[in-house]
């Protein structure tokens, strides 16, 4: 589904990703862990097509297409979804209008019919339940004045609505208390399926107690330096990143 080979990317003059190789198959959940500055968020952003990153080498193939050649909206239309670490507030942009525009843009790009107002609202109400969200949220401006927890839940709610093939959760756990984390994780788990893959980017092992990954990768200095099963996350929790880093340095 996703194949990343030898990916190198700069921010300004600084090289952040230094030859990253990474494969995701259908239905797999991969966790990418790593200390601050290891390139986790850069990787998520490069995949989603955010400006400000220069890819200098390597390739990313998604669903058989050259992902890096696509505009951000084309990636989304193809089935990629990024849950933002810091969801952006859009004052004045009504949440319902936004969700409908997003869903119908994606449907249109896929040659599906746009949803009319009635079926759209029905779908939205159904998906709201997954995240235990109140429908008053629909009347508000996107993320504007939302609490940290509401913003993260709104991200997962969008994911539930847009039904991506590959979701990237960028530090979805940051800034959440344990209850909010559980709600978000429950939402994510409800969306797991044999066709939907996920990349969970996180600094802490804590999130992985709730979203159990099939594979865990450790990113350091722009490269994956170790991969394993979910026990690797526990080992990291126990020994800290210093352990891996030291090994990385030695290697």
């Amino acid at each position: 589904m996703l194949s990343v080979k030898g990916l190198r990317a700069n921010v300004g003059d600084k090289e952040i990703l230094r030859g990253l190789d990474f494969e995701v198959g259908p239905g797999e959940v991969h966790a990418i862990m790593g200390p601050n500055g290891s390139g986790k968020s850069t990787f998520a952003h490069v995949l989603s097509g955010r400006e400000g990153y220069e890819v200098t080498a390597g390739s990313v193939t998604f669903e058989g297409k050259d992902l890096l050649a696509l505009e951000p909206e084309e990636r989304a239309q193809l089935g990629l979804f990024l849950a933002f670490q810091y969801p952006v507030e859009l004052p004045g942009v009504n949440n319902t209008y936004f969700l409908k525009a997003a869903l119908n843009s994606i449907r249109k790009a896929r040659g599906e019919e746009e949803l009319d107002a009635v079926s759209f609202l029905r779908l939205i109400k159904e998906r709201l339940k997954i995240l235990h969200l109140d429908d008053s949220l629909l009347k508000r401006a996107v993320n504007a004045g939302f609490s940290g927890g509401e913003k993260k839940r709104n991200e997962i709610f969008q994911m539930a609505l847009l039904e991506p093939k590959l979701a990237i959760l960028d530090e979805t756990d940051s800034g959440l208390d344990i209850d909010a984390l559980r709600v978000v994780a429950d939402g994510v788990n409800a969306l797991r399926s044999a066709e939907r893959s996920m990349i969970v980017v996180t600094h802490y092992q804590r999130l992985l107690d709730y979203i159990q990954p099939d594979h865990v990768h450790v990113l350091s200095k722009g490269r994956i330096i170790r991969s394993g099963g979910k026990e690797l996350a526990l080992e990291l929790e126990e020994k800290g990143y210093g352990w891996i880093d030291a090994e990385g340095q030695a290697a």
């Binding site: 979804f81 004045g92 942009v93």
Partner: protein, 439 residues
């Protein structure tokens, strides 16, 4: 300038026939206004209020005053003019003249009088003696003076004390293209008695894309405790010139909630003047303007806090694209005695192109020492972060830009008094932005 009208404006007043209406006080006011026009002459860019606005394009047109009542507008044309779903007491003016057959005033409740200005001058001029030109005053600015000197027709809306009018009064000023470019100079007089409450929607629009000029003046007088919601929506033809003067006077405890939208015309000049006649009055002026290629939107606000304990808000937002231009010249004056004045002025502009231009100049002149006054202005672009967020959800870049612009404009649009109006304006703004070049 001895005795003669400045070249360019002479033709506006060529038919001074209505001057011999035989109403002495009216004739005197017209003569005084004509004198004011002669005194002032044509302003140049050295005049502070005209620094960024060139009158040459306007004067070149040689607009003529309409000389025949216009009957070209048929009931069938109304569909194009009305806002779907908006129930109102409706007044229709065509090229500045009241058209009773197309207006809808049968259901006015007791204590509310809405009529054409010319017919009221003919039937009951005394009603207007203390009201017409009462707020604008004798010391008229150039275009208000022209409007008064050429005074011909318009609308008068009088709401008696204590009357709560539910349905809005809608003043629809329609311009219909004529063989020669004409200037219409309608005069609107709105008076709310003590404790009265009303909604007035004032719209300026055209059938077709023709060249014409509107030079309107609206005088609003609010009695003690009166509340007026006042939407003013300018969607003139893209070839039109639009000049609009609002003169507002508020008695104690009154509230004025005004929304000014400048969405059409190639050249639009709007002067908003507010004064307080009593304490604890509140004046809220909201505005939104769009300017694209070849368009100029020019706003001048003058809010005069001459009595204590009054509040005013001036909140104007602009979206500029292509080679669009805008001017925001806002002045809040606080007199020495006007303690506890609370005034906040803001002008924010969203620039969608590098060749668009805005000159913004908010000014506070504060002569009292115990006041709360602020002003702020911003000129910025669409935030790349916001754009990326929308695009990452599958929304194309052009649609994402439009959504963000509409979000920016929404703060003002949502203040319009009726949902039907908000829907129509949102759609119109969306359409305008859809055709806007992106750089």
């Amino acid at each position: 300038m001895n005795g003669d009208m400045p070249t360019g404006f002479a033709s506006w007043l060529a038919h001074e026939r209505s001057c011999d209406a035989g109403i002495d006080w009216l004739d005197a006011r017209r003569r005084n206004a004509a004198e004011r026009v002669r005194e002032q002459g044509v302003p140049s860019s050295r005049d502070e209020g005209w620094r960024y606005t060139n009158l040459k394009g306007l004067l070149e047109q040689g607009f003529l005053q309409p000389d025949e009542p216009i009957t070209a507008l048929q009931p069938d044309d109304l569909e194009e003019v009305l806002v779907p779903g908006l129930a109102s007491h409706r007044v229709i003016l065509v090229n500045g003249r009241f058209v009773p057959e197309l207006s809808l005033l049968e259901d006015l409740p007791p204590g509310v009088r809405v009529s054409g200005l010319a017919s009221l001058l003919a039937s009951d001029p005394d009603v207007l003696k203390d009201r017409l030109n009462a707020v604008a005053g004798d010391d008229l600015a150039l275009f208000a003076a022209l409007n008064t000197a050429g005074l011909d027709d318009g609308v008068v809306a009088l709401v008696d004390r204590g009357v709560l009018l539910e349905r809005p009064i809608e003043l629809i000023h329609v311009s219909v293209g004529l063989d020669e470019p004409r200037v219409a100079q309608p005069r609107n007089v709105i008076v709310l008695g003590a404790g009265a409450q009303a909604i007035v929607i004032e719209r300026y629009l055209s059938l077709g894309d023709s060249l014409y000029c509107t030079n309107c003046v609206t005088e609003v007088s609010l009695g003690r405790d009166a509340v007026l919601k006042h939407d003013r929506i300018q969607t003139e033809s893209p070839s039109a010139f639009h000049i609009s003067g609002l003169y507002l006077r508020q008695d104690a405890n009154s509230r004025y909630l005004g929304v000014n939208l400048g969405l059409g015309a190639r050249w639009a000049r709007t002067d908003l003047n507010a004064t307080f006649g009593g304490e604890h009055a509140e004046c809220d002026l909201q505005g939104l303007y769009l300017a694209g290629d070849g368009q100029l939107m020019d706003y001048h606000l003058d809010v005069d806090h001459s009595v204590p304990n009054c509040a005013s808000r001036e909140n104007f937002k602009g979206i500029l694209y292509g080679k669009g231009r805008a001017v925001f010249d806002g002045r809040v004056f606080v007199a020495q005695d006007a303690q506890k004045t609370d005034a906040a002025m803001s002008n924010r502009n969203l620039m969608l192109s590098e060749s668009a231009e805005v000159d913004t100049k908010p000014q506070l002149e504060i002569n009292a020492d115990d006041v709360k006054c602020s002003h702020g202005t911003t000129v910025g672009q669409i935030e790349p972060e916001m754009l990326f967020y929308l695009r990452s959800r599958g929304i194309s870049a052009p649609l994402a830009r439009r959504m963000l612009c509409l979000g920016f404009a929404g703060e003002i649009i949502e203040r319009l008094s009726a949902e039907a109006l908000r829907d129509q304006v949102s759609e119109l703004v969306g359409q305008r932005l859809e055709s806007a070049p992106l750089s």
